[in-house]
């Protein structure tokens, strides 16, 4: 019974392969020698990559997206860890309320969230600065960070903490020596997962950019609207590669089982 009927299996395989298909199309288009997408391709070239690398706007956008992703992932992982650690260890009674609040952004349509974010950031006078983007990304990523950390912390046996304390460890030592290493994969999942989300976020971010700052996906979006030069294909390929590497890293250091765990709340 552990087998599927051949037609069902074929269907599954075809559909599965259709998922990354548009990405491969972008990939192929990026090596197209002519100025517009043509079939069959007339010539192959790396000219769009050369163009992408010489245009300083792209380099800047890539770097901006990378550093914002790094800052957001680090901050939100630390924030979620502190909150989850405190609630699980000292105040399990408020755990349900906190989760409700943390997961509520998930039920917000992104368009509304974008307008709400721009309304707030405009009120604070920071639209068009990295701060606006970072703060908005913190709001967007907090559920995705809290979940894996909460799951990991919840599985820590309280007797391990007590054992460390009986042996003379202060709370901080026990946290550092025992709890953090045990929660390693949850923390790494949070770091990489939120990093990827921040790096690729566009719907909320596009409301918050300004003349001085834009992120890679938002810039791709703007360029698609203006003119669809194949340089976009080269740049998109680059962004896919970065995301892909991050996912492989995640698989290596923490495994992917988190994504397919049945979530219990």
């Amino acid at each position: 019974m552990r087998k599927m009927t051949p037609p069902m299996k074929m269907l599954g395989i075809v559909l599965l392969l259709a998922l990354p298909a548009p990405i491969f199309i972008v990939f192929g288009a990026s090596f197209n020698g002519t100025g517009y997408i043509q079939f069959p391709p007339v010539s192959w070239s790396l000219r769009w990559y050369a163009e992408a690398f010489t245009d300083p706007r792209w380099g800047r956008a890539v770097l901006t997206s990378l550093w914002i992703a790094a800052v957001v992932a680090t901050l939100i992982t630390a924030i979620s860890f502190l909150a989850a650690y405190f609630t699980l260890r000292y105040a399990p009674k408020i755990s349900g309320w906190l989760e409700l609040a943390i997961f509520s952004p998930l039920f917000f349509p992104h368009a509304s969230m974008g307008v709400a974010a721009v309304a707030l950031m405009a009120g604070m006078g920071i639209v068009g600065t990295p701060w606006a983007i970072i703060l908005a990304h913190l709001m967007v990523t907090i559920p995705f960070s809290y979940r894996p950390i909460h799951v990991a912390l919840k599985s820590v046996d309280p007797d391990l903490i007590r054992a460390a304390e009986v042996m003379g460890a202060s709370e901080l030592r026990a946290l550092w020596d025992i709890i953090l290493p045990i929660c390693r994969s949850g923390i790494l999942t949070s770091l990489l997962f939120t990093g990827i989300i921040s790096f690729d976020e566009v719907t909320v971010t596009m409301f918050l950019i300004g003349p001085d700052i834009t992120t890679l996906p938002v810039q791709i979006f703007t360029f698609i609207q203006d003119d669809a030069s194949p340089v976009l294909a080269a740049i998109s390929t680059l962004s896919v590669v970065i995301t892909f590497v991050a996912i492989l890293l995640l698989e290596r250091v923490a495994g992917l089982s988190f994504f397919v765990q049945r979530q219990s709340s």
Binding site: M1, K9, G12, L15, L16, L19, P20, P22, I23, V26, I37, L82, A83, F86, R89, Y90, I102, S104, L106, P109, H110, A111, S112, M113, G114, V115, A116, V118, A119, L120, L135, M139, P158, I161, R162, I179, F199, D200, E201, T203, M206, L216, P217, V218, I220, F221, I224, Q225, L232, A233, S236, V240, T243, F244, I247, L248, L256, F259, V260, R262
Partner: protein, 278 residues
């Protein structure tokens, strides 16, 4: 890991950063409301009245909802065989999972761009058909509802795969064998055991995909163009082109209310369908 100790106030500070982030989120919602009910410096319901009275706006909401429902159903339908495939292939599951995760996590813009290359007037499909000689003038595959539906469905299938797979993986292994031993056929086992137990994943997908669709901006804007408006693309235009924050906020609130209403309805349907489970 609760050790039964009483927290001190100083330790309570650990909660503060998270509360700040949540505080920002809730203040942004408050700001949204305070923008929506203001026009030229005073309280006004102008933009809400506008939404309720203009038939062309009704069409936009109507299109958004109908398209979202179609996309949610289509995505779940197409995701199910993929989830089954991953569930069955224990050995290669991790590799196959990456094939699902990468399209899920790669930026929306990039995935939509792929569809533009495919479906555009000078795109891959038209170029191919022209080269073969099937068509003389390019087919209109984009800038219409079809384009939006194709794009959104494709963008959201990976999530449905993951959440249905999670449900499938939580089915106890011997349940199926038990059913077979008791004499149920392959199809009957699927229908009476596997499908009902995977319903929680199906409903999670429907809800999340529906919500993602009604709030989508990028895909409808790029594949639907300016004429086939979505609520999201309308909102985008109000903020970015006409700089009318009040109108955008009013639209956002209507979108928000619509989502909550839909969420409630979907939850009721879910509860009914899952009655007896858990």
């Amino acid at each position: 890991m609760n050790t039964g100790e009483k927290p001190t106030l100083a330790k309570g500070l650990m909660l503060l950063p998270a509360l700040i982030v949540l505080g920002l989120f809730f203040s942004s919602v408050i700001m949204l409301f305070s923008n929506a009910f203001v026009d030229r410096g005073g309280f006004s319901l102008r933009y809400f009245e506008q939404i309720f009275s203009r038939p062309d706006y009704h069409v936009v909401f109507y299109r958004t909802v109908i398209t979202s429902i179609i996309v949610a159903l289509l995505a779940v339908l197409l995701a199910y065989p993929i989830a089954l495939l991953l569930w069955r292939s224990e050995k290669h599951r991790n590799m196959l999972l990456i094939v699902v995760l990468v399209p899920w996590l790669v930026s929306l813009v990039v995935r939509t761009y792929g569809w533009i290359i495919l479906l555009g007037p000078k795109g891959f499909v038209n170029a191919f058909l022209g080269w073969v000689g099937v068509i003389d003038t390019p087919l209109k595959l984009m800038f219409n509802d079809t384009g939006i539906i194709i794009g959104l469905t494709h963008v959201l299938i990976p999530f449905a795969v993951i959440s249905i797979l999670a449900s499938l993986l939580s089915i106890e292994e011997n349940l199926e064998e038990a059913s077979r031993v008791l004499g149920a056929g392959r199809w009957q086992t699927f229908r009476t055991i596997v499908l009902p137990l995977s319903l929680p994943g199906v409903f999670t997908s429907l809800i999340v995909i529906y919500l993602a669709c009604v709030g989508a901006i990028v895909t409808p804007l790029l594949l639907g163009g300016i004429t086939e408006k979505f609520v999201g693309s309308q909102i985008y235009q109000e903020v970015m082109a006409t700089f009318n924050m009040s109108k955008a906020a009013a639209w956002s609130i209507c979108l928000l209310s619509l989502s909550f209403l839909s969420l409630v309805i979907l939850k009721i349907i879910e509860r009914r369908a899952l009655r007896g489970q858990e």
